[in-house]
């Protein structure tokens, strides 16, 4: 993120002004922020929300920090995102759709005409869509809050980091680290499948802690050993197709980019 202190442009009460926007998403990450406001009441002492369609009747454009949920799926989304980017001192991708493209980018694996027919039927030509992509494919993104959905505590940590002008402490190590620190039984040791060894931590290994394998919603770590991971999945009995499904469910954009659409 920019070295410049985000608190440089404060409202009169001394709090940074914050806006929330969304593109293609389920809006669940913003709902998680609403949840965070209930468990961390001091959030509203620290920031001033000036624009938030989902949770307030505010539509101000004088914001410092923009949290943007959702992936970009239509050419004309780009114009709105660029407007947000021009105004924001700091632009944060909120959640997996904005950060990695998430499940929206699964459509990039399929032929465009097939997808458009499936979704819009005989009105397909009415709708202008293109390959789904993360925000960073269109504008510069200063910080991310990964995950589908985001983790409340991590969101609060990101806010704190922005308040002091530091790079948010998003882990660059895999879920296994947090899973071991919790003393969990390894999912592979009980016959399960888990993407934890290559997936970015920060969720507190929530899925393995409750007995489900990680599905990679937080995106992959910066330098995953993909070959070794594929060997692990192969040994666990997955076919080549199934291995690809695990690598693409949340991370198709990383694997194929815009895929069959361009």
């Amino acid at each position: 993120m920019s070295q410049e202190h985000v608190t440089g442009r404060k409202s009169q009460n001394g709090k940074p002004k914050v806006a929330f926007f969304d593109f293609a998403s389920c809006e669940g990450c913003q709902l998680t922020v609403v949840d965070a406001l209930q468990t961390h009441l001091d959030l509203l002492d620290a920031i001033e929300v000036v624009n938030w369609r989902e949770a307030a009747t505010l539509d101000g454009w004088d914001f410092d920090i923009a949290f943007v949920e959702g992936s970009i799926t239509r050419p004309h989304d780009e114009e709105r995102l660029r407007r947000i980017r021009e105004q924001a001192k700091v632009l944060v991708a909120l959640g997996a759709c904005a950060d990695t493209g998430c499940v929206n980018t699964l459509k990039n694996l399929l032929p465009p005409e097939e997808v458009r027919r499936y979704v819009y039927g005989d009105r397909a030509e009415w709708y202008e869509t293109y390959a789904a992509r993360p925000l960073s494919a269109v504008v510069k993104v200063d910080a991310v809050v990964p995950g589908c959905p985001i983790d409340i505590e991590e969101f609060v940590e990101v806010v704190k980091a922005l308040l002091v002008g530091k790079r948010p402490p998003i882990p660059d190590y895999p879920v296994c680290v947090e899973c071991k620190m919790k003393g969990n039984v390894c999912i592979f040791h009980v016959g399960g499948i888990c993407m934890g060894p290559v997936t970015r931590a920060g969720c507190g290994a929530i899925c393995p802690t409750y007995g489900d394998g990680c599905e990679g919603c937080r995106g992959l770590i910066p330098h995953p050993n993909e070959n070794a991971m594929k060997d692990v999945l192969d040994e666990a009995g997955l076919s080549v197709d199934d291995i690809m499904h695990y690598f693409t469910m949340f991370n198709a954009y990383r694997e194929v980019g815009t895929g069959k659409w361009e």
């Binding site: 961390h40 001091d42 959030l43 002492d45 620290a46 609060v156 940590e157 806010v159 704190k160 308040l163 002091v164 402490p169 660059d172 190590y173 895999p174 296994c176 680290v177 071991k180 620190m181 919790k182 003393g183 969990n184 039984v185 390894c186 592979f188 040791h189 009980v190 934890g196 060894p197 290559v198 770590i221 910066p222 330098h223 995953p224 050993n225 070959n227 070794a228 991971m229 060997d231 692990v232």
Partner: protein
């Protein structure tokens, strides 16, 4: 050392009584495996466990702990946080006991670590003799850690209907006197002890193909060995090998302010030399960027460097890293392969 005899039926009552005065950690079932956790009911304790997922070091060096609090008010204040409570670790195996001796040295050297040492000082250890190897990955016999004659306050040996108890310290003696009614051993008890220990011997196999005392000098010849590249290809850099290791103690320090920015806590959290960013320094340089170099670093720590530093090998043969590794990186096979190749020359 005088042997005492503790009837097994006394153990639940002893643990319950201890729980009133101490936090008592013991092995509990966790799915099909075992974990050292605080006990809330003596019936949860499984002294028949084979190996715990994490070593009992979790009671002394927790995965995350607060070490200081900062406050901004009229001035700037920093207060250390030392979280230590009277603790008993019950049922520690001797491999972990040997590991604890190394952790004690590491946290006492140079800058004595008040957080660890205060906790350690308030902790009593009741260990238990293993009568069979945990599984095929145990190599405690090769590392000389399959038994112990010190490091514990009390040491139990399963004699069938009773536990034979060795008292290692005055604190152990006091604990046994206050919380149980052990009796002196009879000749028959001593004969039974000898039978049990004699039967133990052949059940354990040497798995290193050479004397562990040769490890430091063997590794000294192996810095450029081709095996590191091979391990680097396989390593996921997930850090599981070090997180489960009873002698690994590296940590990272994180400052976390509250939302008012008037108060902050300094946390320390386990770190791992196997992670990508572990060796990144302030200039931006990462001096151990390759997985191969990181695996070599781990093996050298276990087999050479900790020995040179503290006089103890960094590996106690518990086999946890082998069980945890999804790509089958095996420290015994690695050491044996290096030994074999150096002897072929």
């Amino acid at each position: 050392m005088r042997l005492r005899i503790l009837p097994k039926e006394q153990v639940p009552g002893m643990v319950r009584a201890l729980m009133a005065d101490y936090r008592v950690w013991g092995p509990k079932a966790k799915g099909p495996q075992f974990a050292f956790e605080p006990l809330y009911d003596p019936a949860e304790m499984r002294l028949d466990y084979n190996i715990s997922i994490l070593s009992p070091k979790v009671a002394l060096q927790p995965p995350q702990e607060r070490i200081a609090v900062f406050r901004l008010g009229d001035g700037f204040t920093v207060e250390p946080v030392i979280e230590a409570e009277p603790t008993v670790i019950f049922g520690m195996h001797t491999c972990d006991l040997h590991a604890l001796a190394l952790l004690d040295k590491a946290f006492s050297a140079d800058f004595p670590d008040a957080h660890y040492l205060e906790r350690r000082q308030k902790t009593l250890i009741v260990s238990i003799e293993c009568l069979q190897p945990c599984d095929e990955h145990s190599f405690c016999k090769s590392m000389g850690t399959w038994t112990a004659d010190s490091g514990y306050d009390l040491h139990l040996i399963d004699l069938g209907e009773t536990y034979g108890v060795y008292v290692g310290t005055g604190a152990g003696e006091a604990l046994l006197t206050k919380y149980a009614q052990a009796r002196p051993a009879t000749d028959a008890d001593v004969r039974r002890l000898n039978e049990v220990l004699s039967a133990k011997w052949p059940r354990f196999q040497h798995r290193l193909n050479f004397d562990a005392a040769e490890l430091p000098s063997l590794l000294a010849t192996a810095y450029d060995h081709p095996i590191w590249a091979e391990l680097g290809e396989r390593c996921l850099s997930c850090g599981s090998c070090t997180n489960v290791c009873p002698t690994c103690y590296c940590f990272n320090v994180i400052d976390s302010p509250d939302l008012s920015l008037k108060e902050a806590v300094r946390l320390r959290r386990w770190d791992s030399c196997q992670l990508d960013e572990f060796a990144r320094v302030a200039s931006g340089e990462n001096f151990r960027e390759a997985r191969a170099a990181r695996q070599r670093h781990r093996m050298f720590r276990k087999g050479k460097w900790l020995y040179e530093r503290f006089g103890e090998l960094g590996c106690v043969g518990c086999g946890r890293c082998i069980r945890a590794c999804l790509t089958h990186i095996n420290i015994v096979d690695t050491f044996n392969a290096i030994h074999a190749s150096q002897h072929r020359r």
